[in-house]
Structures are given as structure tokens and as C-alpha cells.
Symmetry: C2
Subunit: 80 residues, 2 copies
């Protein structure tokens, strides 16, 4: 089974990478872009057919390794 | 309008961050995880209602700033 995990900053947390990219976009000449937020993306492949168990594993991994729960939030998506 | 851009390594391109996380997951005790690929995630907010024009802007920004076309590929998703 394949899972996708998207990690983003919580609302209100400063996102310096997003700000830098936003500035570069303005330098490119695109004034239409109002906001840029950056995050991380992961694809995990899990052995077996127990989807509920796999989701528990992914949740634990996301909270312990992929995201910093103090400042980030994560979203898990199932692929196929 | 909100757009999401997901940047991942092309197949065959080494992903050291993914490998490191995979190793940490094994240290956590989860042997079920077979593969981890890492990528980047961006949310861009664009002014206006011309979706076709906004998509062209996002494509240009993705190819020039968000991804390195030599080793990465990007996917654009519309949000709402």
C-alpha cells in the first residue's frame, strides 16, 4: 500500500522558505501571487493488506519523525 | 484561487533524505515500511478568476523556482 503524507506549518507559524519563494516569484514579475506556504511531502510504501494497521503506523511515523507537532500539522492520503 | 504543487525526485534519482527517514523508521521498529520517498510541497494563492492563466503562472513558477527540472518533477493540484 502507498500512503502520502503532507506536512505543513500550523497557521500563525512563520514560514521563512515560503516568504523567500514569494519574494523570488515577485522578482520573476508575477504580482498575482498573494501567498506562498511551503511544506514537506513523503510517499511511504507499506507491506501487507491491513489498511487500518498501516494507517496507525503512518500516523505514528508522521507524529514522531516527519512532522514537529509543536509547529507543524500533517495530513495522510491513501494512494490507490 | 489556491493551488498545490508537489515536487518529487524523478525515478532513478537518489533521495538521501528519504533513505535517512527510512532508516529512522526501521529504528522505531516498523519493518513493514518498504520505501520512503521525500519531496516538497507548496501552497500558492493567486489573485483573480482566470484559472487557465493562473495555471500557466503556476507551471512557470514550478519549473523555474520550485523544482529542478533536471532531477525533479512537479504536479499541480487545484484546491477548491
Amino acid at each position: 500500500m502507498k500512503f502520502k503524507v503532507i506536512v505543513t506549518y500550523k497557521p500563525g507559524i512563520l514560514d521563512p522558505q515560503g516568504k523567500t519563494i514569494h519574494h523570488s516569484i515577485e522578482m520573476l514579475g508575477y504580482k498575482e501571487v498573494k501567498d506562498v506556504r511551503s511544506g514537506k511531502y513523503f510517499e511511504l510504501e507499506i507491506e501487507g493488506n491491513d489498511k487500518a494497521k498501516a494507517e496507525l503506523i503512518i500516523k505514528d511515523i508522521s507524529a514522531k519523525l516527519l512532522a514537529n507537532p509543536n509547529i507543524q500539522t500533517f495530513k495522510i492520503e491513501t494512494d490507490k
